[in-house]
Every structure is written in structure tokens, then in C-alpha cells.
């Protein structure tokens, strides 16, 4: 693996290795590549006509690939886990060929996530009730609580893991909500407002308070907030086989956005 030192190299790879038939999971924008190079987080490897970009994450690598010779199996081996994520547009587009290639390279299926959306105009705010007390998280204690819940419950390879600073920034912007049960914090929801879309980033309920409608109240609160902020629509990613979560979102009127993400992992 070698470091990528300038954006010209990325441009050359995109021009020479990204063809119509290329197997790729690359959807990184040029400016994002430039940022990764600047922070010395981008590496590459080459095997024949196949090129692989590695993005350094906290304790693992994220892999992006341009495969033009699928018969050449890439038997990579590193000390740290490697994850790759493939976006696809619904079941009929499931990336079977990608899956086959990476299975041969000893990657295992990890998670499949689906993107859902709900138009603000389809929402009736009057119908949204809260059975629990929900507050915006602001204090260091609340930020720490949220960070701990996220760390101990969410997948660290694919779930856009949040640093303490990022959680603090969401809290500062008013996008971190905490649910309370008998005065005790019992769950969190982190949102984000981007381009008129109010994203539901993470929702986690404390193990000891599950089955008490905590997630329901948090999502209610999030929808009310987004509506008050004047967002055009709500969006979220959810793990496909997390049936209780999928059913909860569907109950609120969320529908599938023709976008899924399949990840594979090599430890």
C-alpha cells in the first residue's frame, strides 16, 4: 500500500481505470479526495488493471475499488480490518458480481442498510404525541451519555461513527435529543439539517428501557423539530433486518428511496 500524494494521481486513476464496465464502489467526489490527501488518509494499491483506494479510519480501513480484471483475485492482508460499502438501487440491482469478487478475497457480508424518506407535506404534526420527556442535549454530561450509547450500540465500521467533538457540535446546533424516563436519560436521537433535508442520523435506546416507546417519542420529537425548521423532507438509513426500526419508520409514513448500501468486512 502506498500513499496518494496529490489529486493529479486520483484524476489519472479516474480517467484510466474508471470505464463503463468497471466494477466500482466509488462515489467519492473530487473535493473529498483532495481533503483525504491533505489529511494523509488516502492510500492505494494496484493489481494489474485493478486499482484500490484505502481511506484510513479510526482502527480500520475503508476500501474503494476499480476492478477491470475480475479474474484476478485480490488477496490482500493487513493487520487492521477492512470494510467496503457498495451502494445500489434496490433489490433488482443487488451487487452480486461485487459480492462474488470480494467473497473470493475472503470478505464476509456485514450489513445491508436502506435509505428511507418522508415528505414534510405528508406529515400531520398534530398526530405526533410524546409519551416521554424529550430535551435537547446541551451539557457535557448529556453529550458524554450520547457518545457512550452510540459507541456501545452502533456498528463502528459503517454507521458513520461519531467522535466526541462531532456529538458536541450536533448538541451545539440543537440536533441532539435525549429522552428521559422518571428523570433518567434513556435514549438519544441525533439529527442533521442538510440542504432542506432533515436527516435522522442515529437513534439509540438504552438497553434497560427498550419496549417502553422511547424510540417512538424520540422520532416524534425529531419530526416535529424538522417540521418547525421548515425542512422539505426527512431521510434516514436503517439496517435492513432491523425489523422493529423499519416498522417504526414505516408507521410514520417513511418509504424506501431506491437506495441501499451493502457492506463487506475482512477482519
Amino acid at each position: 500500500m502506498k500513499p496518494v500524494l496529490d489529486i493529479d494521481f486520483v484524476d489519472k486513476v479516474l480517467a484510466d481505470f474508471f470505464k463503463k464496465e468497471t466494477l466500482t464502489n466509488n462515489y467519492i467526489l473530487r473535493e473529498e479526495y483532495a481533503n483525504l490527501i491533505e489529511s494523509q488518509a488516502l492510500w492505494y494499491d494496484q493489481l494489474g488493471e485493478n486499482i484500490f483506494f484505502y481511506v484510513r479510519k479510526d482502527g480500520f480501513f475503508r476500501l474503494y475499488y476499480f476492478i477491470n480484471e475480475p479474474d484476478i483475485v485480490y488477496n490482500l492482508s493487513y493487520d487492521e480490518p477492512i470494510v467496503l460499502e457498495i451502494l445500489y438501487r434496490g433489490e433488482k440491482y443487488f451487487p452480486t458480481i461485487h459480492q462474488k469478487y470480494w467473497s473470493a478475497a475472503s470478505f464476509k457480508s456485514h450489513l445491508t442498510r436502506d435509505c428511507y424518506f418522508l415528505k414534510n407535506t405528508a406529515l400531520n404534526v398534530e398526530d405526533l404525541g410524546l409519551s416521554l420527556e424529550i430535551k435537547k442535549g446541551k451539557s457535557l454530561e448529556e453529550i458524554r451519555y450520547a457518545k457512550e450509547l452510540i459507541d456501545s450500540n452502533l456498528d463502528r465500521f459503517t454507521g458513520d461513527h461519531l467522535s466526541m467533538e462531532e456529538v458536541a457540535t450536533f448538541a451545539e446546533n440543537g440536533f441532539l435529543y435525549l429522552a428521559y424516563f422518571d428523570g433518567n436519560p434513556c435514549g438519544i436521537l441525533q439529527a442533521d439539517f442538510k440542504n432542506a433535508v432533515f436527516w435522522l442520523g442515529h437513534v439509540v435506546v438504552d438497553m434497560n428501557y427498550r419496549g417502553k416507546g422511547v424510540a417512538n417519542s424520540l422520532v416524534n420529537y425529531y419530526l416535529k423539530e424538522g417540521s418547525a425548521l421548515g425542512c422539505k423532507q426527512f431521510q434516514l438509513w436503517v439496517i435492513q433486518d432491523n425489523t422493529p426500526a423499519v416498522n417504526l419508520y414505516k408507521k410514520f409514513g417513511f418509504t424506501y428511496l431506491n437506495k441501499s448500501s451493502y457492506s463487506m468486512l475482512k477482519k
Binding site: L14, Y27, F117, N195, Q233, L257, N258
Partner: protein, 76 residues
């Protein structure tokens, strides 16, 4: 126009392509959506939209996308 509109709506059923004029710069389409749209347009019209065509101004509106397709058809 109808054919392009159908392709776009299949990729992003939540977007009103007939009224939006800042699809990319307004953040409505992300890079995955654009790559999906390119792939569908290339197949449907047997054209070759390449990476260097991936500029926001080519994908900001239905009419800009139509103009791109027409340019590519004329280059065939």
C-alpha cells in the same frame, strides 16, 4: 423529455424534477444518484457520458440533463 423524466423519477422518486433547478448545487442529488442517472442514460440512449461530464451544471435541472443527452446523441 418524458423518457428522461421517467429515468430520473425511477432513480429518485422523491424529487420533483420538473420544478427543481439546483439539483446538484442544492444538494438534492448526491454523487451516487448522478452515477446511477448516468448509467441509466447511457444504457437507454446508447451514449457515453463520462466522468469529465460530471459537472454540476450538467445535472442541475431536467433541461440541463436533456441538453447533455442531446449533445451526446449528436456526437454519436
Amino acid at each position: 423529455m418524458e423518457k428522461i423524466l421517467k429515468i430520473l423519477s425511477d432513480v429518485r422518486p422523491d424529487i420533483d424534477f420538473e420544478s427543481e433547478t439546483l439539483l446538484v448545487e442544492g444538494g438534492l442529488l448526491d454523487s451516487f444518484d448522478i452515477v446511477s442517472i448516468i448509467s441509466e442514460l447511457n444504457d437507454a440512449y446508447e451514449i457515453n457520458i463520462r466522468v469529465h461530464d460530471l459537472k454540476p451544471e450538467n445535472f442541475n435541472s431536467l433541461s440541463a440533463i436533456q441538453a447533455l443527452v442531446e449533445r451526446k446523441l449528436s456526437e454519436k
